[in-house]
């Protein structure tokens, strides 16, 4: 069975590394199509800790690429590092696929990697299964109105995977640490990061990872308290429509939709959101959809499993109270 490289999606923190859930989801998908290995591009000293974490989800190896020389430049050096790793590993057996999180940066890294390794690219996969001719992916396209099954026919399949596409399954891995030296070209240093402001910590789950998302739109009138109270009662992440973001009620990192985050939680709870096509593009793969809107004609009701026609300022606090009461 060929080796599947899963790129560890993480945030580097002073006290360690926050590994994102999508890493474990991809390791789980990788085990269906080959032998999973993880690739950590980060501080070398933190490699051992990452190895401990990924081996619990079946990673046989952890390739560690020290990022001291890479981290000041966006995208390009990571793509070069992965290209060198794919070439090196291919000599010793063959890489069956490279899996990368479908984040803004992940997709760009994947695009460059596809070109430099002469490989086909599939983005935003929501499922991967083994096929007779290599990994078969599922994508949800056109704002969720079509499902597409595709596969790569040339080179090493480069696949970006949307978060929340699989339930991580624990499995025994060896987690053998392998340090890899890479070289970064001058061309890859042409764009330089001169300042970086990490996202404010909200204490709530990460939007793209959350099992439940409660979102608010223009209908909140700028008062997000009912939305946030309900989110906290449900242990959910908070999202927003573009109208709410454009009004300055929430930062852009909260936006769900075509030009914001793409989410696919177990439960999506839309309040005061009309359901424009661009909003749907970011939430239509949600398993269960619920909406509260005072207009019974709102297009969001075409999508819902359950909808309440009413004023969110009275309905949401009442739901929150019910949830708190029932949860005890």
């Amino acid at each position: 069975m060929s080796e599947i490289l899963v790129v560890v999606d993480h945030v580097d923190l002073p006290e360690g590394v926050a590994i994102k859930k999508s890493t474990y989801e991809m390791l789980t998908l990788a085990a269906r199509i080959g032998v999973p290995s993880a690739v950590f591009i980060g501080p070398k000293a933190k490699g051992a800790g990452v190895a401990e974490a990924v081996k619990r989800y079946g990673a046989q190896r952890l390739y560690v690429v020290d990022d001291e020389d890479l981290k000041s430049y966006p995208v390009a050096p990571k793509a070069e590092a992965l290209q060198q790793l794919v070439e090196k590993t291919s000599q010793s057996g063959g890489v069956g696929a490279v899996l990368i999180t479908s984040s803004a940066e992940g997709k760009e890294v994947a695009g460059r990697l596809a070109i430099t390794t002469g490989s086909g690219l599939i983005t935003d996969a929501i499922d991967i299964e083994a096929g007779d001719d290599g990994p078969l992916t599922t994508q949800s396209v056109f704002a969720g109105s079509y499902t597409v099954k595709a596969r790569v026919t040339r080179g090493t399949p480069i696949i970006t995977v949307k978060p929340n596409s699989a339930v991580p399954v624990e499995a025994d891995g060896a987690g053998q640490v392998d340090e890899v030296a890479v070289t970064v070209s001058e061309a890859a240093r042409g764009a330089r990061i001169v300042a970086s402001q990490p996202r404010a910590v909200t204490g709530r789950p990460e939007l793209t990872e959350a099992a439940i998302v409660v979102s608010g739109g223009r209908g909140t009138g700028g008062d997000f308290d009912p939305v946030e109270d309900l989110a906290d009662a449900l242990g959910a992440a908070v999202g927003a429509s573009r109208a709410a973001v454009d009004s300055g009620w929430k930062p852009h990192s909260y936006q769900i939709g075509q030009t914001g985050k793409n989410v696919g939680p177990q439960l999506y709870f839309a309040s005061g959101i009309s359901g424009a096509i661009q909003h749907r593009a970011g939430m239509q793969t949600s398993k269960t959809i619920v909406a509260v809107n005072k207009d019974e004609e709102a297009p969001i009701f075409e999508l819902v499993d359950f909808g309440v026609v009413g004023d969110l300022h009275t309905v949401l606090p009442a739901v929150t109270e019910e949830v708190r009461r029932r949860k005890g």
């Binding site: 790569v152 061309a187 990490p198 309440v308 029932r326």
Partner: protein, 271 residues
């Protein structure tokens, strides 16, 4: 200074977007338009031109790869104020994947030759943040790779000073300031500023602006390297999602809605 803005012609998202028998997107039999997000790139290119010391020395060229009808997308950008257009149009391109599309775009840009390392005449290659159909958000990075240029992508704010470019990139985990020097690839988000509407004057002026039509042989691309048969990915199956089953919708009367909703959440095991 020369700016190339890449614009895509896409099926209207409010219309009936669908796949054909060969599992490619129908781009001819449906209403199409300039991909909305590329208007933001055109807008930023025009602003760079207008802010320049002598705007007449800045030339904004729009570049489009697509079928005959795609000239509509080029025209729209010209109406907004771009100076001229290049339209690569060849039946062999139909069904191309992202790899092949990036090859065609890169070769079309290099066609004019150029003194710099990228071998192309443009100082800035600008793109939207994503197309509204494929929505892969990979083209700018692929072009940067192919042209060996720095990538300043997903910019929500742009400042230029001579050849220096400084952007704000709202990334996944942080907001970054990224700098680079022209020539480079720049993609802009819908946070960069609302695109202008074409004025009446702009619409009239666009009729006289030149649009050069190029075929694959004009740009030195082998027809065998592009199109559906050369794609490095193959679509095995496309399935229209069954319409969602109509859900239950209740009217809230004196708190009844909240109770019914809580019941629903409980039966679905969310509470």
């Amino acid at each position: 200074m020369k700016i190339a803005v890449c614009v895509k012609y896409v099926p209207d998202a409010t219309g009936n977007r669908h796949f054909q028998h060969d599992k490619t997107v129908d781009r001819v039999g449906v209403d199409g338009l300039l991909s909305e997000l590329d208007e933001y790139a055109v807008e930023q290119a025009l602003q760079i031109k207008e802010k320049a010391g002598s705007p007449d020395d800045v030339e904004v060229t729009v570049l489009c790869v697509g079928p005959e009808q795609a000239v509509d997308a080029v025209r729209k950008a010209l109406q907004m104020g771009a100076d001229d257009g290049v339209h690569v149009q060849d039946d062999a391109i139909a069904g191309s994947d992202a790899i092949a599309t990036s090859l065609v775009l890169a070769k079309a840009m290099q066609r004019g030759g150029g003194a710099d390392g990228a071998g192309m005449p443009y100082d800035l290659v600008m793109c939207g943040m994503a197309s509204t159909d494929g929505a892969m958000s990979v083209m700018p990075a692929m072009l940067a790779q192919r042209l060996s240029l720095p990538q300043l992508t997903l910019a929500s704010k742009i400042e230029t000073q001579g050849a220096k470019v400084r952007i704000q990139r709202d990334g996944d985990d942080a907001t970054q300031v990224v700098v680079g020097e022209m020539p480079l690839v720049l993609s802009v988000t819908d946070q960069s500023g609302e695109p202008r509407y074409p004025s009446f004057k702009g619409i009239m002026a666009a009729k006289k602006k030149p649009v050069k039509i190029l075929t694959l042989s004009d740009i030195g691309v082998d027809a065998g390297d592009v199109g559906l048969s050369a794609a490095w990915t193959v679509v095995e199956e496309t399935t229209a999602r069954p319409p969602r089953e109509a859900g239950e919708i209740v009217k809230d009367e004196e708190g009844s809605g909240a109770r019914a909703l809580a019941d629903f959440l409980a039966t679905q095991k969310f509470i």
